[in-house]
Each structure stands twice: as C-alpha cells, then as structure tokens.
Amino acid sequence: MGFEIDYLALAPELVIVVTMIVVLALDLTLRRDNKYWTATTAVAGTALALIPLGILAINGEVVSMFDGSYVVDEFALVLKGLFLVSGYIVFLMSHHYIESDRYYQGEYYFLLLASILGSLVMASSRDLIVLFIGLELVTGPLFLLAGWRKGDAKSNEASMKYFILGVLSTAILLYGMSLIFGLTGEVQFTAIAEATADMSTEPALIVAILFMIVGFGFKISAVPFHFWAPDTYEGAPTPITAYLSVNSKAAGFVAMLIVMYMALPGASDIWAPALWLLAALSMTIGNLSALRQTNIVRLLAYSSIAQAGFMLVPFAAAAVSGADLEQAFGATLIYLVIYAVMNLGAFAVVIAGARKTGTGEIAGWAGLAKVDSIMGVLTAVFFFSLAGIPPLAGWFAKFEMFRSVMIADPATIALAVIAAINAVIAFYYYAKVIKAVWLDDPTGEFTDEAEAEPAGSLKLALAVAVALTIAIGIYPSIAAFVRDAAQVLATGG
C-alpha cells in the first residue's frame, strides 16, 4: 500500500532538517572564531521555515497523511508557528551567550534545532507513536543541553536530574500508551476516540489516562511532577532554561491537548477532574514556593510551574461539552502563546540583567532602573505582564483562563476562585523583582556599560517580545486568531 506524501505540508520540518545538516557541516568546516555562522544559519533556517508555514496557512486546506496519523491543519500550523517563533527568539538569546563562553556552538544549535523539529512533528502528530517519538526528540536533546555548561557542577546536576526524571516519566507514559493500545488496538487518535467513547468507567483506561497525564505532567512541570524544574532551570544555560520553560512546556501542553481532546474526548470525566487537581496544586504550590525565592531564575522556574497551573485550569472545564469545550481549548492555546511571548521576554531580561549586574540574585539587581531605565521598563513590562496586569498581554491570558471556567459549574468556579487568589499571591513575587529594580537603592556595583550592553541579537529578541506583549495587551484580537485553531481541534478532534 502506497502513501502519497505532500512535501509542501512537510516543508517546515524539511527546512529545519536541512538547516540541521548545514549547521553540522559548517561546524565541521569552520574555525572556532567564525563558528557564529552556525548560529546565523540556525536563525536563518528557523526564519526560512516560517515561509512555507505562511503559505500553508494562507491556502490553509487540511492535509492528512498516513491514515491521518500526521495532519497539517490550522491547529498544527498555529503551534508550529509558535514553536518556530519562540525557537527563533531563543536562538537570538543564545547567540551572544553561547559565543561568549567557549561552548560547543555547532552542536548546540544542532541539538536545539533537533528539539524544535521534534516539536514541529509533534504538533502534527495524530497518532500515539508519532507523538511519542516527537516528544522524545523534543526532550532528548534537552537532557544534554541542560548540561551544556560542562564545567559547572550545577549544570551537570541539572541535566542529571532532568534526565532521570525524564526517563522515568517516559517509561510511565509508555506504559499508559501501551494500555491504550491494548484496550483499543489502535494508536490513531480518531480511532481511539471512537473505541473509548463509552469506556470511561474502565479502570485500565483510567490508569492509562492517568499514566499519560503523568508523562505530560512532567513535561509541563505540573505539581507533583515539577521537582526537576527549579534545579534544572537554575543549572542549565539561561537560553536553554528559557527554551525549557517555553517550548518544551508548550510541547507538553500540545501533547496533552491533542491526546485528551482528540483521542479521549469521551473520557473527559476522568481527565478533567484529574487536571483540576493538578491545576490547583500547581498554582498554589508553585506560587507559594516562588514567594521564598531569592534567585531570579529559580523564581521564574516556580512562576512557570504556577503558570502551568493556570494553563491547566481550562482543562478542568472541558467536562462540560459544546461551545465551552472549544472555549476552554482556546483559552489554553491563547495562554500558551501569550505566556511564550512574555516569558521569553522575561528570560531575555534576565540574560541582559545578569550581564549588567553580574548576578542572578534579585537583591543584586537593586536599583538597576536607576542606571539603566530601559532595562527597568522592560523588567516592569514582562514581570507585570506575567502577573497579568493590564494593559500588558498577560491580562488577556488570565482573562481567557477565567472566562473558560466561569461556566455555571461549582467545581470549575471554585477553581476560578483558587486561581483568582493565586493571581494575587503571584503578583507579590513578581513585584519583588520590580521593587528591587525600581524602588530599591543600588547596593552592588554594576559592570560598566561597554561589555554589559546586551548584544544586538538579544536586543532584537527583547524588542520583538516587548512589542508583542504590549500589542496583544492592548488589542488582544491579535492573539485571538488562535481560537480558530481551537475550533478545528474541538470539532475536528
């Protein structure tokens, strides 16, 4: 039996693949002092990959390949766009960072590209196997990249912890998948959906679903599967941390979204409550732990755990079907997109700030705004946005999150209330950073302008992020297009 392959549909992936190979080739040929070309190539490649993506988006018909196990529809495109853009920004952030510190550049970009490729594949996957492989390709390289600062014991530990828990979660995930397969005899989502339509009381199915949730829960670092996150975030090179907290988290969410909504819509009465629980736990524990952080990266780590909790909230509402299902969907997606933008921005600020202050300790940032008001404004923008203060993008994310659960259902409304209280708690530690930067008087010495000046690429990254953050905040319809993707998913699932 032959399968015709639509290469245009696969174009983005292919472009990335080509880029990877080129990067490798360059890395072998180039001398150390102009290895930065690999970076340029990577950046260019990701940018290039956006072109076919655009074309696909424009003529936008749904391409389904291999018995519908690999589908390129609006949803997939939106997410691929998200992965590519955020990847692009991460490259921009990495450029100077990697170059300055005698890291292995070529391999770095190669692995990062591989991870991105994985996320692209996963976005299109409509089949457990493809999904699984995609996820592995996303995380595999990251295990290594987390330890990229080879000389640093922290970095080693970061990668080790990440790895061990990673494989554990993979094993559990796989066990769940195997059960699904056993119950349905299928790995293709729509088929699974049909098979499991009236199975929701089946213990095995429950176990399978929960095991898979655990697998994904690890990727999105939801409590209680979050333990790796803070240490790893702190140890890994900052751009990788950014990537972890945005792309790989997003990857986890995408996996969760498509599996839950497409493969197991019938069992929503199992996973919705489960995710309700995870959401509540993640928000609360994430926020509470963040209150005590003195290191800005660790703080962001816990914040990203809490944010994951917020993103999980809409899932809990999925138990009720119909328009609200799609709504809940859109909410998570929009939150993902906005979160990606502002969190990347925040990490870019962290890189630039650390360069200037020479420390990741919040106390060390005291009075930064007095010497560099631009930095101050950027910090304020991104952290207030994370806190969800209008008119910055974050508010709309939270707004959508609330909106998705304020359906007349006590359980979800209770979750909304928990979320509301958490939103207030969260503000406190975001404000802690802003307080240090704006309100406190300088304590430490700041390194002199010349070398501390953020690199052009970083500036570009910051510019992109801040522009998006404010634009979305003021005119959220920009982000609202994501909802159409949600429709595709909710209905076509």
């Binding site: 039996m1 032959g2 399968f3 693949v17 990877m20 490798l24 001398r31 150390r32 390949m65 291999f66 018995d67 196990s69 690999y70 292995y104 391999e107 190669f110 692995l111 591989a114 490729l117 994985g118 594949v121 196997i129 493809v130 699984f132 492989i133 995609g134 592995e136 390709l137 595999g140 390289p141 290594l144 990249l145 330890g147 990229w148 080879k150 000389g151 990668s159 066990y175 059960l179 056993g182 119950l183 089946e202 213990p203 095995a204 199915l205 429950i206 176990v207």
Partner: protein
C-alpha cells in the same frame, strides 16, 4: 478459564519457566550488590523477554531485542561502568539507606497495575498462530504508515549520538586549541 486447563497447556509451562527467570533476573538487577552483576542480570532478563516474544510469535522483535540490547546497550553499559571505575567487587554503598517507602510504593504500584489489567482483560486469549508475524508486514508498516516516526527516530539517535559525544568528550585546553588550529 480455570487454572487446571491453563496449567494443562504446555506452552504455559514454558511461560512459567521463562517468566520466573525473568522476574528473578529483574529482581537481582535492582538488588545486586555488584554493578557488573546487575548488568549481567539485566542481560538475563532481556534474554528471557526475547524468549517470551518468541512464545508470542514476535520473532523479529525478539531478535531486535537481542541484537540491540544484548549486542549494543549492555556493552555500552559495561563500558560505562568500567570507564567510570564503578567498583566491580561487592559494594554496600550502592543503595540508598531508605528502602521501605520505595518498596511500599512499588508494591502498591504493582497491585494497582495488576488489578486493573485483570479487570480489563480478564481471560482474553492470546492468539498464537504459531506462524510468526511476517517481517515484510513489519517492514511495510515501518516504511509505510510509520515512516515519519521512523525517520524522526533516526534524528533522535543522531542527536543522542552527537550530543552524547560532545557532552562526554574531554574539553580541549586552550593550548591544545592552539596546536589544533595551527595544524
């Protein structure tokens, strides 16, 4: 089906034998006081698994398992063990000092998993056609419907390879950099 007619099937004797062996090996893997022994017990467990696969008429997979694991992975392991100078003799320090909770956790886990699968699959028969799954069928679906994961997984391996090397290799000192560059 009752225990008696289950026991009456000879193939189940084979299963029992292999299964128990696998279990024993598995148990030793996690308890052995000697790293190398542990690795070797894993070999045993895998070999047993391969046997079970044969019972289940999955020849190809069985051989893949043997080749990949026993042929490659274990060797890798032994290398790792040796390079990292892990003690080859007895060693008390391999395990954490607290075993109680892990034990209870895993037992509970086992109970849950076993119970659910019994609930789910009761006494479904395993269809043993005797004729092993044809390799070309596997080939077709691998290069057909599953070509994408097939391609992608190669990247997983490639990434692991390159990344692994980079991570594991010894960094050159600046001096060596110089000389490397001058050549």
């Amino acid at each position: 089906m009752s225990v008696t007619d289950w026991i009456s099937e000879p193939v189940n004797w084979a299963f029992l034998a292999i299964g128990l062996a696998v279990l024993f090996c598995g148990f030793r893997v996690v308890t052995a006081k000697n790293v190398v022994h542990a690795a070797l017990y894993l070999v045993g467990a895998l070999a047993g698994t391969a046997g079970l696969f044969l019972l289940l008429s999955a020849e190809f997979v069985a051989w893949v398992l043997v080749l990949v694991y026993i042929g490659a992975v274990i060797v890798l392991f032994l290398f790792g063990i040796m390079i990292t100078r892990a003690p080859t003799g007895l060693d008390e320090g391999l395990d954490g000092d607290r075993k109680l909770w892990p034990a209870m956790l895993s037992i509970a886990l086992f109970v849950v998993m076993a119970w659910t699968s019994i609930e789910a699959f009761g006494s479904n028969e395993v269809v043993t056609t005797g004729s092993p799954t044809s390799t070309d069928l596997l080939g077709e679906s691998l290069l057909g419907r599953f070509v994408i994961p097939f391609e992608v997984v190669s990247f997983v391996l490639l990434a692991a390879l390159i990344g692994g090397i980079t991570i594991a290799r010894r960094d050159l000192t600046p001096a060596e950099e110089e000389e490397r560059a001058s050549v």
